[in-house]
Amino acid sequence: MHDDHPHSHGHRPDQDGPLSDYQLMEIAVRELLIEKRIVTADEVRRAVEAMDARSPALGARVVARAWTDAAFKARLLADGTAACEELGIEMAATKLVVVESTPAVHNLVVCTLCSCYPRMLLGLPPDWYKSRAYRARAVREPREALREFGTEIADDVTVRVHDSTADMRYLVLPLRPPDTDGWSEDRLAALVTRDSMIGVAVPSSV
């Protein structure tokens, strides 16, 4: 059928199966809200677009500021939401807890119950974050799970897992890489990856 289509990458299969109960419910509620003129279709689209536009670059800015400004870091650890708003980041109802990794403590974030994630700072979560395997193993055997991400935590470093079970959202403030003295905030921010703010990786300057 695709003789004129030489490349062989895997296409995502068409989703032709029946809709799940939750998909049907979402469509029904959305259509009702639009019919009753509580929201418009364009407002729904804009909200999705705004969420899709959020990316880990926001969180990276926060981390880079904390690495270069000790007073900001103190405010960030005391009240994550207020400190992010100080940088002009809209946090809506998010109650942010920032957990600082140090040479003695490595932090890791998970939501074992579902997929709670600091979306206002990191955008949508990666698929693996929502998988049952990650959600179970991050609490049950975090060091083994981290090793599979290529992150080896020494035995004399405490692994502190944060299970986002209720109203808080978590951002890891990773350890600033060595050999970055005098770097600008922008240059530091480029080192801060999504995975390092979840805690499955550590930033590196090389």
Binding site: T112, V139, P142, R143, V159, D163, T165, A166, M168
Partner: protein, 94 residues
Amino acid sequence: MSARFKPGDAVTVRRAYPPGHLRTPHYIRGRRGVIERICGSFANPEELAYGRDGLPARPLYRVRFAQRQVWPDYAGAAGDTVDIEIYEHWLEPA
């Protein structure tokens, strides 16, 4: 609602299995931990899930547990911990 516990207090998570929408993971029920911080008071999600107002708001805590206490065969370091948000009505003095 004023908070019943303060940071540093030892608490035990109720070993209860009621039906409904709960934010207390099974794996932590019955375990003993220490209050890490008070997060504030929030509408009860067990009520919000059914369209009720969830009021009065309930104090929410972050509770720190030693991994070796949570999982008896935990293979990591002795100091490893898991911090979990738990509503006050799930906690008892340890």
